[in-house]
Symmetry: C2
Subunit: 190 residues, 2 copies
């Protein structure tokens, strides 16, 4: 925490992200930029996977894609390293007020996160309920329990409130999920 | 090593990759598929980053990209987890016989790998000299030394032979770079 707070003075580029109501993706980008600029963690969103079927090559440097299709991702959107640990997560928003539909997450993304956990990494979901403006971190080990014990097709908000960890709204970084990771995996108290 | 060898019997899907002369990218895909199928490691190539400027949406599921451009990647192509450690690397082929031109690697990719090392991850280059069919692993800490001490615009083959680690050609996985990682970072002898 001291490192994060202490680093604020050296922060320069991300002020433009301070406005409220931005998408979770934009907030995470700003947060990951902040972590990177302040040498806290190296975490990126992966590019969207695309199958390219037609390309124009007027010259080698100026290729233009003329036809392409979105592929289903094999993994989660975000990964990287923090304090020597492999970090891997998927982030989703929902407009629903009382539950998060599981069809927002591909089954192979859940399988992927379970593998990450098994191999000693830190895997989780970040879910934002936009209407109430609450953002939760749910570790994959907790999500696994839910899926083992429930046949529901959505995770109730009350489950996030009981078993997840709220990511407090901050000025900078906007979505300080590593603060929760610190407390969960590096000896702090939540 | 035992784990890798022992796992061979449970291997099923990747036999079609056994032919020689495939590209390094295809060999790495087959190797990463092998590691994944045998629960050895979870390592993926990132999608190619693309800026999309025109999309047709005949329906939500059938979006077709009509115009897009290749972006310069911010990071390396490959990352994932092995034995609890964060793994990150870039892979390149060269047709040259005696050196690997450094303009094959973007400067920010080298900066990225240095950051990975600093944060406790394992970062490296895999370079294949296609004409002599030799594939080397060069740890980022070694590459950093080279860049600090040399003003050359290419790394001589002799440098790879002296300071890099050859990745032996195998049947399966084709490019067993984790065997080198085992020896370098998990207590084996090279």
């Amino acid at each position: 925490m001291n490192k994060i707070m202490g680093a604020r003075t050296s922060f320069r580029n991300i002020n433009t992200y301070a406005n409220r109501g931005m998408s979770l993706e934009a907030d995470l980008k700003a947060s990951n930029d902040y972590y990177l600029a302040n040498d806290i963690a190296v975490i990126y969103k992966k590019p969207t996977p695309i199958t390219i079927s037609k390309v124009n090559y007027p010259s080698r440097a100026d290729a233009v894609i003329k036809e392409g299709y979105f592929r289903t991702p094999s993994t989660t959107d975000y990964n990287g390293i923090y304090k020597g640990k492999y970090i891997d997560f998927e982030a989703k928003e929902t407009k629903l007020k009382t539950s998060f539909p599981l069809n927002n997450i591909h089954p192979h993304q859940i399988i992927h996160l379970k593998k990450i956990y098994k191999h000693g990494g830190i895997g989780f979901l970040i879910v934002r309920f936009t209407v109430i403006n609450k953002t939760f971190l749910l570790p994959i080990e907790t999500l696994s329990n839910f899926l083992d014990e429930s046949t529901r097709k959505s995770i109730p908000l009350s489950y996030f409130e009981k078993y997840g960890y709220i990511i407090k709204d901050k000025y900078n970084p906007r979505v300080d999920y590593l603060n929760v990771i610190d407390k969960l995996y590096f000896g702090g108290n939540v």
